[in-house]
Amino acid sequence: MRFIRQVMVITAKDLRAEMRTKEAINASFAFALVVLLILSFAFEPTEDTTREISGGLLWIVFLFAGTLILNRSFARELPNDCLDALIAAPVPGAALFLGKGLANFVLILAVEIVALPVFGIFYNVRWARQFWALMLVLVLGTWGLTAIGTVFGALTVNIRLREVMLPLLVYPVLIPILLGAMKLSTELVAGQPISGDLLVWLKLLVGFDIIFTALSLVLMDTVLLG
């Protein structure tokens, strides 16, 4: 119970700070728009081509936009030595990870849910035909991104080239999750239900979410104190 309260306090703190400044979420959403715009030059956005690559397109946008939020998560704690205070606080590393992770998760998911209809309008796609299944994939994929991103955010916060190092380390480790999320999203946006071969990808997604979360919970203390 105590643990859950600690997690909630940290999540609430992060979300409140973000709601008052809106620095990360505004930048992230604007960036998502820019990437969506640029990608429309990469190919002729006709219905057929878009249907084939919609999953990849969406997740590239989510990944780029998400990285901005993840970069801010720990960097925000640097001024006034807030990070040292957080580490010194009587809160286990696992609670800090979950608290920060949940806040990041909510913010990234919010950007994604706003970006989806924009994608639908720009690329002329009826994306909501498998709405709830797509939401499930979005939640699973985003949690994977958040788990890895939060731990690696703590890992890279004191490095000189922080903004570059985070994506450089996160993207390759995240590939199994991205692969599953992209495949599933493409089919779901095209209106196909999850069945048969697609179930394997869903299992992969769930499996890696569990592995990454477990590793993060165990290793967060080491990262913070190391």
Binding site: L155, I159, V173, V223
Partner: protein
Amino acid sequence: MRQKAMFAMLALAMVLLVRNLYTISMLPDEVNQGQIFRIIFFHLPAAIAAMLGSAVALVASVLFLVKKNFQYDALAVAVTEVGLAFLAVNLVTGSIWARVIWGVWWAWDPRLTSALICWILYAGYLILRQALEEPTQRATFAAVYSIFAFTDVPIVYFSIRWWRTIHPQPVFFSKGGSFPPDWSRALLVNLVAIFLLYTVLTMIRLRQEQTQREIDYLRRTVHAT
């Protein structure tokens, strides 16, 4: 003593490799693939060596986190760096083989892709180390990253069985393998030779790390006085 053992292993590896080169060149061409099939005698051992290396790197990283002994950190870097070179050998030989048999240098097949992912992951490990200056922090963060990176290695191993892939199915250590006995023997000799080479290179790299730490220590002592 250690140096002598190192030189002996290196000499043995070289003798085995050169001798085996002759044996392999004397083997008859494979029915479907012709000349090029011989690349497997280097392609496969390099892959196995690199994969074992990643396992050693994982164990060394975990041991460092538990015991905080810098010997393990040195072992993790050494084994990862050499493993990266061997994985590069694996990717390059595979690419040459693919050009001849498939007609393309590269195909986005699960097996190939996941091997490339591993290469990029462990390259990321070295880049992360370079970006961190404080030794304890560098060793700790690198160890944590190595543990995360290792989660992708089983995927490389199993991708060939899980997903439909155009990569040839395993012919060695598996039922239904079609490798004649004298080919298997040649492969085994190469495997031993390449393992020896891997070990020697790791030992050399390990010594460099230790010397580096000693130099750092001496420099700090000089500055302190």
